[in-house]
């Protein structure tokens, strides 16, 4: 894993980034996959001055790579303090990956709100809901996770976005002396669970799939510019059809150029054991742990089952949403 000691990384207060999404949308897993995602890249590494955050990263990286269990909500922290350390920016030459004093640093303070706060049958604990509100208000960046599987099955993404967003907007835009018409936040909208065949098939039907020529595994990708199209496509097959309201809402509250869409998967696609490549008809990288209550009948809802990871983890777009936020927040206008 790419990790550095606190001294090297330097400890300075990071930009606050809040994570947000329906329960089970994959927030905790995404954070847990961060270590592996970085380990698979040549350029960025992660460091932390916060012992609990570092400990979590190490534990989760090991768990995801060996035990292949999804992280439990109870194992997660409330907030994480990490620094992403990038390659040197200038000059662009063969030694550009060397990290020196000029390396780009992105300090993150991430808050993972445990699932079940919004739209749950059990009303959320008031102090926890308040905590998220405060957190959103204090943060400059937001990672919002849209879980298409949950949207197929339950269709409550709008509900999960709408409530907190309205409250956030009234607090910031409706406050005394406020003049702005949009929230100041940058937001990464992550479509999670790209590895699910339903999501992949929708992308394929929309003609959004490409592969990177240098990818030895041949994993399919949806380019960031097309991620919004996929989201629209996924919304049209959602269980309630209210997902398009969600898209409307987003453009109503955030500046157009402060929104970016990502198609992500924390666990990635299954790799064919023999060929070491992506296998079109065998993409699922997880397996249910206990028998379904109705064997051979209607498949039980994915969102109601427990799974384990089947093979190697190849995170897709787990670091990128954070990098984009970090760059934009540190004033890097070149971040696409």
């Amino acid at each position: 894993m790419s990790a550095m000691s606190t001294e090297q990384a330097g400890a300075r207060p990071g930009k606050n980034i809040a994570m947000w999404g329906a329960p089970g949308s994959g927030k905790t897993t995404m954070l847990a996959a961060l270590g592996i995602a970085l380990a698979r890249r040549p350029d960025w590494l992660i460091a932390s001055s916060d012992e609990a955050s570092m400990e979590y990263l190490i534990t989760m990286t090991n768990a995801l790579s060996d035990g292949r269990a999804f992280p439990l909500a109870s194992e997660s922290l409330e907030s994480y303090h990490w620094t992403l350390i990038g390659p040197e920016q200038q000059p662009r030459s063969w030694w550009r990956h060397r990290r020196g004093p000029g390396a780009l640093r992105i300090s993150l303070s991430l808050v993972d709100v445990p699932g079940g706060w919004y739209g749950d049958k059990n009303p959320p604990a008031p102090e926890a809901a308040k905590k998220l509100q405060d957190n959103l208000a204090q943060s400059e960046g937001i990672v919002f996770l849209f879980d298409p599987i949950r949207e197929f099955e339950i269709g409550d993404a709008f509900e999960h976005l709408h409530g907190p967003l309205t409250k956030l907007a009234s607090r910031i835009l409706g406050g005394p002396g406020a003049t702005a018409d949009r929230l100041p936040h940058y937001i990464s909208i992550c479509i999670t669970k790209f590895d699910e065949p339903q999501v992949l098939d929708t992308a394929r039907q929309l003609g959004l799939l490409t592969t990177r020529p240098d990818d030895p595994h041949g994993f399919p990708v949806v380019r960031s510019e097309e991620a919004r199209t996929l989201l629209e496509g996924l919304c049209s097959v959602s269980a309630t059809g209210s997902a398009d309201l969600m898209l409307n809402n987003l453009s109503k509250y955030f500046h157009k150029d402060r929104i970016k869409f990502f198609v992500t998967s924390s666990i990635g696609f299954h790799l064919n054991r023999d060929t070491g490549r992506f296998d079109q008809g065998n993409v699922r990288n997880m397996i249910p742990t206990t028998p379904s209550p109705s064997l051979g009948g209607a498949p039980p809802l994915v969102s109601e089952r427990e799974f384990r990871i089947r093979g190697q983890v190849h995170p897709i777009n787990v670091v990128e949403p954070l990098l984009w936020l970090g760059r934009r927040l540190s004033g890097d206008r070149t971040a696409p």
Partner: protein
């Protein structure tokens, strides 16, 4: 004076018994210190020599003993010759054992030799009964011994009574013979194994046993204990049978029942789930095979399949063929073997919701293809007993992980139907209502629930057996 060694007497007895034919009888009179005894040996209608011994008469009960050394008394002589019962003609052997009273011995010998001067005389102290028994036991067969079998005509199935040679004439005790026969349905009474000799086409019974070996082919080992006694030493379970010959012959059906003797029942069982679920599936199979096998000649196969492993650290469990085109008894034995094994617990690293049914179908396809174009069973039924659906060949909306080998169950069912005319029966722990998906296809001809299946009705319903079966009393011998 003849020798006291009984060797020459043994030889003489063996020769005299061997020379007996038809209604001839060999008379042996033996006198010794205890008195006089008369024995005779003759062959019964199956040619088996049989020995008979009269009650020995003590000297004290005879005049010759009480009258001391009175001169030659015709009464005493007549009395002794009456006890000896020497025939005027036919083979006779006289045996004298040492007697304490020399004068009595001389007199008795004199009378007997005078009655049959041609009879050989031996001196032997060995009890004559045991010498005769031994000589009979050592007598080689003078007629062949056959096992009664029914030969079905290959075209019509008409049954013809006949013999299958066990021991040829000249066979000696201790010889053994192996024969292969097929048992038909026995109606619960067992099959009768009758050993006979033939007398102008008429069978003469030597011994008769009954055994419940179960329908199907069996190899028997018979041993000739002595003339007149054949024992079946392998397999076990032969008991002396009392059924009358005429009664048995009357029971022979004119032809084999239903002509369903070329059915093949392939049982595939899912050995995955809880131990109780697997035990119940196995017990259904053994019931069905026993019932169906008991009412016709049935080929049966047993295939076990389980879950796929989705963790490369746990090897996949291959489909296991426990019996192929074998007897129902072999399948029952396979079921027993499976019942003694542990069952993998549903869950990681195995897929909890599906089983490698598709690999089982591929295995069946391979085995049927291997069997080649030769004569095939007129009807082949695949009976699948399980709970879980198959894995799809590729990711699909069922959300079950695809088969690692990408076998396509629906395609295989289609192929098996078109290529081999397979019929499909299924017993599912909880069949979908209404029938749908893989279990609907696997149970296309019959779909039942494990806890409710009618095991007796299944054979006839699938055309494996005709009901009710007619018992066949004797073993069957198919033309090679």
């Amino acid at each position: 004076m003849p020798e006291t060694d009984s060797g020459p007497l043994r030889v003489a007895l063996a020769q005299a018994i061997a020379a007996l034919s038809g209604t001839d009888r060999l008379v042996v009179v033996a006198a010794g210190a205890d008195g006089v005894v008369r024995c005779h040996v003759r062959r019964d209608e199956s040619g088996t020599p049989c020995g008979y011994r009269r009650r020995p008469v003590a000297w004290a009960d005879l005049l010759v003993g009480t009258e001391g050394d009175l001169p030659g008394t015709t009464d005493a002589e007549r009395e002794l010759l009456g006890v000896a019962g020497l025939p005027a003609a036919g083979p006779v052997i006289l045996v004298f054992a040492p007697d304490g009273d020399d004068s009595r011995a001389d007199r008795v010998r004199g009378w007997l030799r005078a009655a049959r001067p041609d009879a050989p005389v031996f001196r032997s102290g060995t009890p004559i009964g045991s010498l005769i028994t031994e000589a009979i036991a050592n007598d080689p067969l003078c007629q062949p011994y056959d096992l009664v079998v029914l030969r079905p005509a290959p075209d019509t199935g008409r049954l013809r009574l006949g013999g299958l040679r066990l021991f040829g004439s000249g066979a000696k005790r201790g010889s053994s013979a192996q024969v292969s026969v097929r048992c038909g349905p026995d109606g619960g009474m067992g099959t009768v194994f009758a050993v006979v000799t033939w007398d102008g086409g008429v069978p003469r019974l030597v011994v008769q046993y009954a055994a419940r070996l179960g329908p199907g082919k069996h190899t028997l080992t018979a041993r000739l204990e002595r003339p007149g006694l054949v024992r079946f030493v392998d397999p076990e379970g032969f008991v002396p049978a009392e059924a009358g010959w005429g009664e048995l012959v009357a029971m022979v059906p004119p032809e084999l029942p239903g002509r369903v003797d070329s059915a093949h029942l392939i049982c595939a069982v899912e050995v995955y789930g809880t131990a109780a679920e697997v035990a119940e599936r196995l017990s259904r199979i053994s019931q069905i095979v026993t019932v169906a096998g008991g009412s016709g000649d049935l080929q049966a196969s047993l295939i076990a399949y389980g879950p796929h492993s989705y963790d490369w650290r746990t090897p996949d469990r291959p489909v296991e063929v426990l019996a192929w085109a074998a007897s129902p008894a072999e399948v029952a034995a396979g079921v027993d073997r499976l019942a003694r094994r542990g069952v993998p617990k549903p869950g990681y690293p195995y897929h909890p919701d599906a089983a490698q049914l598709e690999d089982m179908l591929a295995t069946v396809t391979g085995l049927l293809r291997e069997a080649g174009p030769g004569p095939r069973a007129a009807r082949t039924v695949l009976l699948t007993v399980g709970a879980r659906p198959p894995h799809p060949p590729e990711d699909d909306p069922s959300r079950l992980l695809p088969c690692p080998r990408h076998h396509d169950w629906a395609g295989l069912v289609r192929y098996l139907t078109q290529k081999f005319g397979l019929a499909f029966a299924a017993i599912c722990d909880a069949p979908p209502e209404p029938a749908s998906g893989a279990w609907a296809l696997l149970g296309r001809d019959l779909l039942a629930q494990t806890s409710e299946v009618d095991v007796r009705g299944l054979g006839p319903a699938l055309g494996l057996t005709s009901a009710p079966p007619t018992p066949v009393p004797f073993p069957l011998l198919d033309e090679p």
